[in-house]
Subunit: 179 residues, 2 copies
């Protein structure tokens, strides 16, 4: 950020009064432009013993597999965001079952919130951001072709929970790698 | 937002190609300025049967009681943000015990993430954003002088869980009122 979104003047980076970290500050109009971590919200869509994954048609990680997930939008709830991403990326409808994981990724200032969902039918297919969408049994999961570390760690815990007989809710940090 | 933070030219509000909702778009440099919900992260600081609340010295809700909480900062984990807010607002140190609630507030595009924490000692006191900090037994909670609906709903569930003998993890939406 080089210019003030409110007045168009150049911004400075410095610590405002009563604050303790550098911000983008506009000396012309007094605006302080805060930057904060972004929420990535997604879904683990379940159909009996299988889950739905999407193969990405966009960068980053074009061609790799992921759970339906994306940046939460203004005015949404987390459950709405998870259902919307599932509809957009996999043209699939889910009933949200509950929270599964909250992962902080401080290296890229993101927080992943993943919810479990039950697919309402098998009428799904790739949206514009997906090359391919399909259901996977645990033994079929493409562990070496997953797009994001947060998805890998979520699925690792998901199958561990399933073997233990109960789904937990997981708070964790993913420090490295960023993706 | 009226001007482009990247180049200073005026921005337009319209739906970009391949998108489905209005964004702030710069026709001069091509930048798209996305706006996304903010994460408010906080702590339920516990000392034996009591919890710590802060009375706000700032707007909004000056003079009302709240849990230590605030906007998550870039480069933080949720646990770090919860501990930092507790240190800033109550000059108190906590060991983070785990996730307690994830509440969506779509009316103000915020997601509250509250964690349980164990106070490490009783050496606490008001930070610059607090008028007063103290420990409360359940019967002492100032229900009619709480600052935010997300805090009220969190505490309501917290004591309900405690009576039931186990803390759950709560995903919910707070639709109205916004505060």
């Amino acid at each position: 950020m080089k210019f003030c979104g409110a007045c168009g003047a150049p911004v400075q980076v410095r610590i405002p009064p009563m604050d303790d970290r550098p911000r983008h500050v506009c000396d012309a109009c007094g605006a302080i432009h805060y930057q904060n971590p972004k929420l990535v919200v997604g879904c683990i869509p379940e159909w009996e013993t299988r889950i739905l994954l999407c193969r990405r048609a966009i960068e980053p990680r074009h061609g790799l597999w992921t759970l339906p997930a994306g940046f939460m939008e203004m005015g949404e709830t987390a459950a709405q965001a998870a259902a919307r991403e599932t509809e957009e990326e996999a043209h699939a409808r889910v009933e949200i079952l509950g929270l599964y994981s909250v992962f902080s990724l401080p290296a890229i200032s993101q927080v992943y919130v993943l919810l479990r969902g039950r697919l309402l039918d098998l009428d799904f297919g790739p949206g514009p951001e997906s090359l391919e969408v399909r259901l996977f049994e645990e033994r079929e999961i493409p562990w070496d072709r997953l797009a994001f570390e947060a998805v890998r760690e979520t699925l690792r815990r998901y199958y561990e929970d399933r073997r233990a007989g109960a789904y937990g809710i997981h708070l964790a940090d993913i420090v490295l790698p960023a993706w």
